[in-house]
Subunit: 367 residues, 2 copies
């Protein structure tokens, strides 16, 4: 293996595939990045066996070959190289010489033959997903993925494509986050994607400008962004029927400024977190929302002006669930819908249906 | 106690004094900030009994009084308040009501009477120190303060003022950092200031624009920056006679570009840190410096062009000591001076004497 590339291209490629390299692995070769020069192309690859990322490196090829080099050493090293041409030469016993201006490194690599092959995916279901939309969808739902694996299927998000609509759903037993938008017609798909895959895909989407293509088999999915591709296993099993959980009726409907509600909840959380369950109480009455929280540290009252239709209501929540949802909503005004003080609360846009957040209340006890 | 101030003034004052509040204290009242309204002035104060910071808060005073409020709660709370007027009212049992627009907090405080008094310092030795110079002096020496307290006096820095020169010296048995400049004539002073005091003073100096005044007694020092003052105990005992350590002669003198030497050392450190002692070898010969390091991961060669007078030399160092010094030097070119491969190396400016770094070598073994 012998090739020349630039520092910048190398930094980008190493950063891209490093995301799939796990720090804690029992297979030492997985701590490395595979460099493979074949058929006039240079490829870098990293995997932790759950996800794998592969990217193309542009450069000037002299000789084919492959080697595995430590991801940790390489990512630090390439950042510290001078801005210039970098050349790689694979010598005997996987010793790899990297030179750049007056610097020469000899790194002990491992045999490229021992690196696991990424599965070749030619999915039956292929589609192009609007890139920026999907990036927002991940950001605005992923916080609601279950943090423990008591119910393994809830450690992922449901991706649903149907009749030109794309939906991403996360829920953890206390709350639900749903984000949807328009996509290509003519494909129907229902897959549960692990949280980590979505988090790494979000990072890739932030780096790359190409179209996002999806190709899915029964148990694997391949995302492609130009010269970079990411393959991931899918979670097996049926996702919870989330449509059943979202109430279709309400008896109280509130229109409120999102920023004010968020700031009040954040201040209330300072008191609430020292008490039990991060509890805050909300009292919707007339055109005023009163928020209260108290703990040993003291207590807090907030008043927010709002528009209300329907019955007045007293209800209590874990304020963190409100804050998590409000933080990712970009609308100035939102709508809250309630039925009773023990039924879920719905957060949605004033117009449209591009997001739905559902939050379960906790028992309201008068202070 | 009753007064009104603005959110911004409050955020600044709370941030300023919070620096002196320690997270881990056995005296709960020291986790708080003292608010004191007296003689038409509002003062905030924080202390961990080693250092104390006091600052004035501008505001509209209605009633005198004092209370201690949790520093942690307060610093988070004030940041989250709306940009508006904030009013404080001290009620019965040290309950303090803070209101801002439609938010009302009631915080359980502690009695201001129980807060320790900061010592009143009217030092015999008073001087004004050039603010920006002193800030640089701290930054460019503090890394060399001893990390363990085997020799307690080395956990601080020597501040020496004499004949219009101000010097700050740190050393830890493996290296020495000295930074000096011009200051007021007519005062002579030799004090050892604890590292933490210098670190917090550095932060204050970065925030404030006023002149820096120093007032010292035998065992305490008071730094004043406009409306903010910081008092600290001094380390007792004689500092090591650092002048004796700095060699006055050399047999090899090298002029080299600082950035190139720093980058090479940083790359070398990637290899060196997996070996013993972060060892790098330097070979000064002709007009070339060759840097080598090796470990199980591989090896590295760097070549840097330089100007040399005197004898060629092979010498080895812990590269971190070189990197620490090179990182804070702002000159483009520096001078290195050596005598033998087992004697200290001196780093100094090409012209002037505003800094001296001394680094002890480690034994050079041919590979």
């Amino acid at each position: 293996m012998q090739f020349t590339t630039t520092k910048d291209a190398l930094v980008n490629a190493v950063n891209t595939v490093s995301k799939a390299v796990s720090g804690k692995t029992t297979l030492p070769i997985l701590e490395g990045i595979l460099f493979q020069v074949q058929d006039d192309e240079i490829f870098l690859m990293g995997t932790d066996m759950e996800i794998g990322i592969k990217t193309k490196l542009t450069g000037d090829i002299k000789r084919e070959g492959k080697v595995v080099l430590s991801a940790r050493l390489l990512s630090e090293l390439v950042r510290k190289l001078p801005e210039d041409e970098v050349s790689f030469i694979l010598n005997e016993n996987n010793m790899t010489k990297i030179t750049c201006l007056n610097s020469e490194f000899n790194i002990q690599g491992e045999s490229g033959e021992d690196f696991p092959k990424l599965p070749e995916i030619n999915g039956e279901k292929n589609t192009v997903i609007p890139k920026d939309l999907f990036r927002s969808m991940i950001k605005e739902t992923v916080f609601a993925v279950a943090k423990n694996d008591n119910i393994p299927i809830l450690t992922g998000e449901l991706l649903e494509i149907e009749e030109g609509r794309i939906k991403l759903v996360a829920l953890d037993g206390y709350r639900l986050a749903l984000r949807q938008g328009k996509t290509e017609e003519g494909i129907s798909l229902k897959e549960v994607i692990p949280e980590r895959t979505l988090v790494e895909l979000y990072r890739l989407l932030s780096l790359k400008n190409e179209d996002l293509k999806l190709s899915a088999t029964v148990n694997q999915v391949l995302f492609t962004l130009g010269d970079t591709s990411m393959v991931s296993s899918l979670l097996q099993g049926d996702y919870i029927n989330y449509k059943q959980i979202i109430p279709s009726n309400h008896t109280t409907r509130v229109k409120i400024r999102k920023d004010e509600l968020q700031s009040s909840c954040e201040r209330a959380s300072l008191m609430a977190r020292d008490g039990k369950n991060n509890l805050i109480k909300m009292n919707f009455s007339g055109n005023n929302l009163e928020i209260k929280s108290n703990s040993e540290l003291g207590n807090l009252h907030e008043n927010i002006t709002m528009d209300m239709e329907g019955d007045p209501l007293k209800i209590a929540f874990n304020c963190n669930y409100f804050i998590d949802a409000l933080k990712v909503i970009s609308e100035d005004e939102i709508v809250l819908e309630f039925t009773t003080s023990v039924s879920p609360c719905i957060l949605k846009p004033v117009e449209g249906d591009h997001f739905v957040y559902l939050i379960l209340p906790v028992r309201y006890i008068e202070h």
